[in-house]
């Protein structure tokens, strides 16, 4: 019944999320800002070659080298909404190997995306590298920011380097940077930041867009030393990865970076949980 509606709204006292008829998130409202934010999953096919020459290099453990442009995962998303008193969840299924839970907690000024990717299929003999991308209307003019190992934010400019003019032979990976805590874009009024729970690669390949690499499964060695393809398995199948990305949207004039930093610390240093049975407790 819920899927026949044109638009689904999930909200609490601080955050309002709007999903379109296809089940994709397409608008976020928080901190007095409303922004059309569409979230999707894509994958890049990994380049495969014999590594004999530069142009024949394969994507592997050391290098990310996509072969062609990204491929969208899931035009239509099946989903269910669960509304508790304190937490509201949207469980989305993009295909057989990509799903996600989007969560908002009462009193918490961020949106949580808990992704589940894998096992990445390789029966077509092509390695794949899965990303999530958030598109918005923010006019970022090619500029984005990534953290420096959880410390200060560094300014990155698409297709540029700080001290030299690069020969950009790799349009995608040439613009990827390490993201260990945070990646952000902004214009004169609005700012979007993504906070992650682990070191990932990330970029802003178009104005208003942010993407993070979530999981990879590749079938060729890249000849940089490891001597085997990045094709991890567990229990006889490709690895399944689960993790979280958090989105914070705010007004630039409110200096949201300060708030993001506090959130980032909580994400990286959550409570340690210890369990005991009460019958043994005094």
């Amino acid at each position: 019944d819920i899927q026949s509606r044109a638009e689904i709204v999930v909200k609490n006292s601080l955050v309002k999320l709007t999903f379109d008829g296809t089940g994709h998130l397409n608008q976020v409202e928080m901190n007095g800002v409303t922004e059309n934010i569409r979230q999707d999953f894509y994958y890049y096919n990994g380049a495969a070659g014999n590594n004999a020459e530069f142009k024949n290099r394969s994507s592997g453990a050391y290098i990310f080298r996509p072969n062609g442009t990204e491929i969208l995962i899931g035009n239509t998303v099946s989903f269910s909404v669960y509304e508790g008193a304190q937490v509201k969840e949207v469980h989305q299924r993009f295909n057989q190997w990509v799903s996600q839970v989007i969560r908002i907690y009462e009193g918490v000024n961020r949106v949580e995306f808990e992704w589940l990717v894998g096992p990445i299929p390789i029966n077509d003999n092509i390695g794949k590298e899965v990303i999530t991308r958030f598109n918005s209307t923010i006019k970022s003019n090619g500029v984005f920011y990534t953290d420096s190992n959880g410390r200060e934010m560094l300014r990155r400019e698409r297709n540029k380097r700080e001290y030299f003019k690069p020969n950009m032979t790799e349009a995608v990976s040439g613009n990827y940077y390490p993201v260990t805590a945070r990646i952000a874009i902004e214009d004169a009024t609005k700012r979007i930041a993504l906070l992650n729970d682990r070191a990932q690669g990330g970029s802003s390949l178009k104005d208003g867009a942010l993407e993070l690499m979530l999981h990879r499964r590749l079938l060729r060695d890249d000849a940089f030393g490891v001597g085997e393809a990045l094709n991890e398995t567990a229990f006889g199948q490709g690895l399944v990865a689960r993790g979280k990305v958090y989105l914070v949207l705010g007004k630039v004039k409110d200096a949201p970076s300060r708030y993001e930093r506090v959130e980032q610390q909580q994400i990286h240093l959550p409570f340690w949980k210890f369990f005991s049975s009460a019958s043994k407790a005094s």
Binding site: A85, S99, E106, T233, F235, R242, Q265, K273
Partner: protein, 192 residues
């Protein structure tokens, strides 16, 4: 010291650039898993002893569920009728965070260390996570509650029995269920 040294040694090995970037061979990655798991389990003994001294749970097991990230904790799913969740806040300031505990699909009541009822939600673990082959017959739901912790605090999770009530301190609706022992704990906790 022996317990902690095992973790120190494992963390020393993990400083290798292959461990940091993930460019190790698959069998080396599995060996890193083995080393780290053994080291964490070893250091857990010290954490348990320290927590037994710091809390009033002198004989508490203080089990760390290392698979909470995939909503798996056999201790809470199959454990006693009442489970104590002791939270240690590693931040240098008090913090309020939501806690997720994997449980069975039953009715629960959460109370804090003063016996006050804490509002909680019971939500299903996503079907895609439940379907993972290595996760079969594990928790189907997660109990979610908000916890305020300065440094160390315990919360109590108990299965509900049939009795209608509203918490008269917090006004929280107990969905028509309350436990007799919880009422008693609440009475004791009231300020004189």
């Amino acid at each position: 010291d022996d317990n902690l040294n095992q973790l120190r040694h494992a963390m020393g090995v993990m400083q290798h650039h292959d461990a940091i970037t993930g460019t190790e061979k698959q069998h080396v990655a599995q060996d890193y898993d083995r080393l780290l798991t053994a080291a964490i389990e070893s250091a857990q003994t010290n954490a348990r002893l320290a927590l037994q001294k710091l809390t009033n749970l002198t004989s508490g097991e203080f089990v760390s569920c290392l698979q909470l990230n995939i909503s798996v904790c056999d201790f809470t799913k199959d454990g006693a009728n009442q489970v104590v969740v002791t939270l240690f806040n590693p931040l240098a300031r008090p913090s309020t965070q939501y806690v997720r505990v994997p449980v069975k699909n039953e009715a629960y009541i959460v109370t804090d260390d003063t016996g006050r009822v804490v509002q909680s939600d019971l939500l299903p673990v996503p079907s895609e996570v439940q379907a993972l082959s290595f996760r079969s017959k594990r928790a189907t739901h997660e109990l979610v509650f908000s916890a305020y912790v300065e440094k160390l605090r315990s919360y109590y999770i108990k299965k509900r029995v049939n009795r209608r009530s509203v918490d008269d301190q917090t006004g929280v609706q107990l969905n028509g269920w309350e436990d007799e022992n919880i009422s008693e704990a609440k009475l004791k906790a009231r300020p004189l």
